[in-house]
C-alpha cells in the first residue's frame, strides 16, 4: 500500500520505536496507565511469558501455561490473591516501597505491628508460605531474607493492614465482617485467641483484688480489656470488630481466672512437698503423697549417684543444712520449702504452669528441696528445690540440682518465675534454670556456693515464696556462677546483691558450722543456659560475711 513508501515503516524518532508503537504507547499512557505501572506490568508479563514458554517447550502442551505461572513466582504467592480492587495497585506500590527500605527496619515495623495486634506468626506462614523459623529469625533477629520472600511478607503485611483497617471502620458489632475477612474461610479456622499485655495487666491487678470475680465484675473486665486493647492498637475503643480473634469476651475472662486459681493451687501444692506440709493450714491431701514421692524419688536418685561419689559427709543426699533447723537429710531430699499453705488441688498441674513455673516462697526453716534433675519429675514438681536454708529468719534458697551422675542423664532446666501476686511479699522474681551436667560433674568436688539471701526478707515463712533449687555446680563452673540463673534470689531483687566474684570465693571456702559435715563436693553449680545476667544479682548475697553467717547449706550433690 502506499503507506509503505512513506516513512511510516521506518523507525521513528524516539529511540527504537516505530510510529505505531509510539502511538500505542501514547495511547496507553493517555488511558490512565502510569509509566511505572506500565513498566512493572511489562516486567511481569515477560516473566510469565518466559516461564510459560519454558513449560511449553518441555511439555508442548497447552496446559503448561498455568503451571508456568505457578512456578515462577513462588507458587505460594497466595497472599496475592488480593481482593481485586483498585487497592491492588496501591498495595503493590506500597510493597515495592517497602522493598526499597532497609530490610531490618521494615522487619521491625512488621514485628511491632504483629505485636500490637497480637497476630500469630502462624497466620503469616500460612498465607505467605514462608518458613516459620526463617520468618521468626528475620523479624526478631534480622536474619536476611531474599527479596522475593520479603515481597511475600510485605504483601501480607500491607494486605493485613488493609483488612484490619477495614475491620475497624466497618465495625459492625455483629462481627460478621470480621469472620469473613479474618481468617481463611476455607480453613474455617480462626486465629487462636491471645491475651495482650495490656489486658493481662488489668487481669492480674484484678486477680490480686479478688480471685473469684462475679459475672458482673468479669463483664466489667471485659470492657476494660477491650478498651485497652483498642488503645494499644491506636483505635477508638468502640471499634471492637478490629480486634478480630483477639477480642476479649466474658468467657475468656472467666477461663483466665479459673486457670490462675488452678495455677496457684498447683504451685502451693508443689511447694508443699515437704513434711512440713501439714503445717499449712489447709492440708492438702495430695501433699503427703508428693513429698514422699519426691523424696523417694530423690533418694533413689541420690543413692545411685551417691555411690559414685562419696563425700566425707557420709550418706547425705543433698542434705540441706540449716543452722537453726536441722533437716533430716536422709529423708527428704526433696523438701518443700514452702510451708505456705497450699490449697488442695488436683494432681494435675494446670496447663499454664508447665510453661511458667512460679516461684514458691518458702520459709527458711523448711525451705529446702532438691531439685531432681529428672525431667518429668522435676518439671512436674515445679519449684521443689533444695533450699539451702540459712539463718532462720532468712529465707534463702539455693537452687540445687542434684546431679545424679548415673541416674540422671538429662539436663533439667528448671525455671522459676516470679509470682506476680505473691501474697504480701515483694515481688519475687526468680528465674531459675539450671542444668544438670552429666557425669563429669559428679566427680568434681565442688565447693559449696550458696546464695545468701538478703536479710531483709521477711522472717516469716509462710508467706514467702521462694523457689529454691540447689544447684550443684562444678568447681569449674563456679566461675560461671555469675551466670548461673539457677540460684535465684527469691526474695529480693536488689541489684546490689551482686558481688559475684567475692562471693564465689567465699562460697568456696565456706565451711559449714553445723554439725553436719559439709563435704566439699556438696555443691556443684551448674550454669544455666538461661540468660543469667538478670539472675546474677540474685544469686549471691552481697557480702561474704553474710554467707558465713549463714549456715552453709550444702547440697551434697551426689547426696552421700
Amino acid at each position: 500500500m502506499e503507506g509503505d513508501e512513506r516513512a511510516g515503516g521506518a523507525k521513528a524518532r524516539p529511540g527504537r520505536l516505530t510510529a505505531l508503537q509510539e502511538q500505542l504507547i501514547w495511547a496507553l499512557l493517555e488511558s490512565g496507565l502510569s509509566k511505572d505501572i506500565l513498566v512493572q506490568a511489562v516486567g511481569e508479563m515477560e516473566k510469565n511469558r518466559a516461564s510459560v514458554g519454558v513449560e511449553r517447550g518441555e511439555r508442548g502442551d497447552g496446559e503448561s501455561s498455568e503451571e508456568g505461572e505457578a512456578d515462577f513466582p513462588p507458587p505460594i504467592f497466595r497472599e496475592i490473591e488480593k481482593l481485586p480492587a483498585d487497592e491492588v495497585s496501591k498495595l503493590r506500590t506500597e510493597v515495592d516501597q517497602l522493598l526499597q527500605e532497609e530490610p531490618w527496619h521494615v522487619a521491625k515495623m512488621v514485628k511491632s505491628y504483629m505485636q500490637q495486634h497480637n497476630l500469630p506468626q502462624r497466620e503469616v506462614v500460612e498465607s505467605t508460605g514462608l518458613n516459620q523459623s526463617h520468618l521468626s529469625q528475620h523479624l526478631n533477629k534480622g536474619t536476611p531474607m531474599k527479596n522475593q520472600k520479603r515481597a511475600a511478607l510485605y504483601s501480607w503485611y500491607v494486605k493485613k493492614q488493609y483488612e484490619i483497617s477495614q475491620q475497624f471502620t466497618n465495625a459492625k458489632h455483629g462481627l460478621t465482617m470480621v469472620e469473613e475477612q479474618g481468617e481463611e474461610t476455607k480453613k474455617g479456622r480462626r486465629n487462636r485467641f491471645k491475651w495482650g499485655p495490656a489486658s493481662l495487666q488489668i487481669l492480674f491487678q484484678a486477680y490480686e483484688r479478688q480471685k473469684n470475680p462475679s459475672k458482673e465484675e468479669r463483664e466489667g473486665l471485659v470492657e476494660e480489656c477491650n478498651r485497652a486493647e483498642c488503645l494499644q492498637r491506636g483505635v477508638s475503643p468502640s471499634q471492637l470488630a478490629g480486634l478480630g480473634s483477639n477480642l476479649v469476651t466474658e468467657v475468656r475472662v472467666y477461663n483466665w481466672f479459673a486457670n490462675r486459681r488452678k495455677e496457684d493451687a498447683f504451685k502451693h501444692r508443689l511447694s508443699l512437698d515437704t513434711p512440713y506440709g501439714n503445717q499449712s493450714a489447709s492440708s492438702n491431701p495430695a501433699l503427703p503423697a508428693s513429698p514422699e514421692h519426691g523424696v523417694k524419688f530423690t533418694q533413689q536418685m541420690s543413692c545411685d549417684t551417691v555411690s559414685s561419689a562419696r563425700s566425707n559427709g557420709g550418706e547425705r543426699a543433698g542434705r540441706l543444712m540449716v543452722s537453726p533447723i536441722q533437716l533430716e537429710p536422709s529423708h527428704t531430699l526433696l523438701e518443700s520449702h514452702n510451708p505456705k499453705l497450699v490449697s488442695g488441688s488436683g494432681p494435675l498441674p494446670p496447663v499454664s504452669t508447665l510453661t511458667s513455673l512460679h516461684s514458691l516462697s518458702a520459709s527458711p526453716a523448711s525451705s529446702q528441696s532438691l531439685i531432681m534433675a529428672s525431667v518429668p519429675s522435676v518439671m512436674s514438681l515445679g519449684e521443689s528445690s533444695l533450699l539451702i536454708g540459712l539463718a532462720s529468719t532468712q529465707p534463702q534458697t539455693v537452687p540445687v540440682i542434684n546431679n545424679m551422675g548415673g541416674g540422671f542423664t538429662t539436663l533439667q532446666p528448671i525455671s522459676f518465675q516470679q509470682q506476680l501476686h505473691a501474697s504480701h511479699q515483694q515481688p519475687i522474681s526468680q528465674q531459675l534454670q539450671s542444668h544438670m551436667a552429666a557425669s563429669p560433674l559428679m566427680a568434681t568436688m565442688a565447693q559449696l556456693p550458696y546464695h545468701m539471701y538478703k536479710s531483709d526478707s521477711p522472717p516469716y515463712h509462710s508467706s514467702s515464696l521462694l523457689s529454691q533449687a540447689m544447684v550443684i555446680a562444678d568447681s569449674s563452673s563456679l566461675g560461671t556462677l555469675t551466670s548461673l540463673a539457677a540460684v535465684r534470689q527469691i526474695l529480693t531483687t536488689d541489684p546490689e546483691e551482686q558481688t559475684d566474684p567475692p562471693l564465689q570465693e567465699d562460697s568456696m571456702h565456706l565451711q559449714p558450722h553445723t554439725p553436719v559435715p559439709v563435704s566439699s563436693e556438696s555443691l556443684e553449680l551448674y550454669s544455666s543456659s538461661q540468660t543469667t545476667e538478670r539472675h546474677q544479682s540474685h544469686l549471691l548475697s552481697p557480702s561474704p560475711t553474710d554467707i558465713s553467717s549463714y549456715m552453709p547449706t550444702q547440697m551434697v550433690s551426689t547426696a552421700q
Binding site: G3, G8, A19, L20, E22, Q23, L24, E30
Partner: protein
Amino acid sequence: MCHSQGGWGPPAGKIQSLTEEERAHILPILRSAQWVEVGGRDAIYKEFVFKDFNQAFGFMSRVALRAEKMDHHPEWFNVYNKVQITLSTHDCGGLSQRDVSLATFIDQVSLM
C-alpha cells in the same frame, strides 16, 4: 453501537435512550461537530481521516481503551488512514448518554 460485556456493570438493558429534551439539546451540538444521524436507525456517524495508518490506529487504540473503560463500544471500520465510526446503544436500540459521551471523547482524541 455498544455491547455491555460481562463485568460488574448494571445489567444490560437498563440504559435509557435519550429523551426528546436531551435530543433537542444535544443533537445540534453533535451535528455541528460533524456527526450525522444515520438513516433508518437511531444512531450517529462520523468519518475521520488521519495522516497515515499509524496515526489512525493510534487513535483507534485510544478510543478502544476508553470504550473498554466505559463498557461501550463503537461500530467502526478502518482502512489505512480512514476511520468510520457509528455510535448507538444496543441495549436500548438507540442513542443514549454513553454514545454522547463517547462521541465527545472521540472528538477530543482525534485532534491529538
